[in-house]
Symmetry: C2
Subunit: 218 residues, 2 copies
DNA sequence: AGAATATGACTGACTGGTCAGTCATTGTCA
DNA sequence: TGACAATGACTGACCAGTCAGTCATATTCT
């Protein structure tokens, strides 16, 4: 299965994945993609590499051409999934045109949208679930996402305080408070959304009202 | 089974675990205790019942005298662990002597203490981790803990608004915001405490300042 | 009371099935 | 054609769940 036309490659450089390196990269991609689905659905221990392989349209042995073992695949998967998230974080702050509140609100809107429409939220849950058993992953996540994110939040809060938008000076000590509702929303989504749906955006707005004071507009 | 001691009870009652029923109950306890340690440490799928048995000082077969299968043991364990938590919730609200803020602060202090000193926090993490794979557990947890807890919070918030302590009227719609930092603290504890310790109590105080306004005392 | 008998809690070796990881073979590309 | 990629049958370890047998305790009998 998953074989490709034998001689098509010779002249079809423009056709998808003509040479070996490209095809290899594509398969690696497919494996990671499939692994993400499986790990999210079942967790690390309960996921079968046979399932990952067949979902990726690849034989099990192929996985071992790309990854040392199941654990390496899992760790690589988390790393891969985190990169776009960090990019979002990095590309969020720039527009410092409006108020700090608008900046944070726009950022939060992006974050929540990202988390509810893609699998990013499940990745976060996966890290919470498996993190304690994979210290490397927890370390990586702390270094690459948490510490950078908190630093960004701290800077935004400091700016807000300097501009008089935020009254609480202590908030800069605990940037976690700022993103707490977003994390709650992620967890709520995967556990309780069927019991009681939660309007994450609206909740975040109320939360920002606490920090910045009620909006002046009706 | 379930018969009661006919006359043995007459003098051996004071000896520890003298009769069969008592010993059986003790073993059941030991199994749950051991299972809690193992499930918290490894998660559901990776936990071996052989390990649970030997930790409990019992043969593997004995587990099956008390629980239908691994899953039933897991579910029973969560139920057992939740009951004391609910009792805490139930015994928290009563003292409505002081301000709403004092009430909530005292409650939060108890909660955070509970969570950092016992295994309760790990149980919460376990539910987040395994919940999606065990809908029964998620349902149970929602019914017994989340919905009751939120209702309590909502009532407290409404009282706070009525008394003029809380300005934001919308907060009653999202009681989740109130406990969000506490949940963050639980997760932070198990994932990142070694990277950067978090003073949960102080964070919660800052959070309450956002809701109730800065404390009047220095 | 003490012997004889019944009970059922407990044990742990065993089974059947599962799955991570391997490697001899086959297929493909340059 | 020679080098490399991919395959999937296979292996061995592992583990949930079973069950025939043991033995401490309870009950009944004399």
């Amino acid at each position: 299965m998953a074989k490709q036309p034998s001689k098509t490659a010779r002249k079809s450089a423009e056709k998808s994945a003509s040479n070996r390196a490209e095809r290899a990269a594509e398969r690696r991609e497919a494996i990671i993609e499939a692994a993400m689905d499986e790990f999210i659905a079942r967790g690390f221990a309960a996921t079968r590499l046979d399932d990952v392989a067949s979902r990726a349209g690849v034989a099990k042995g192929t996985i071992y051409l790309h990854f040392k073992d199941k654990e390496a695949l899992f760790e690589e998967l988390i790393r891969t999934a985190i990169v776009p998230l960090v990019n979002r974080l990095a590309s969020g702050p720039p527009p410092v045109g409006g108020s700090v509140r608008d900046m944070i609100e726009g950022f939060a809107r992006t974050f929540i949208h990202e988390v509810t429409t893609t699998r990013r939220g499940d990745i976060v849950r996966l890290i919470v679930a498996e993190g304690p058993r994979f210290p490397d992953i927890a370390d990586f996540y702390y270094r690459e996402v948490v510490s950078k994110g908190l630093a960004g939040m701290r800077a935004a809060i400091a700016l807000g305080i300097a501009r008089g938008e935020i009254r609480s000076k202590d908030l800069a000590q605990f940037p976690q408070i700022l993103i707490a509702p977003a994390l709650i929303a992620v967890i709520w989504q995967s556990l309780f959304s069927k019991h009681a749906p939660l309007d994450a955006i609206e909740m975040f707005r109320v939360h920002l009202d606490l920090i910045f004071g009620e909006r002046r507009t009706a």
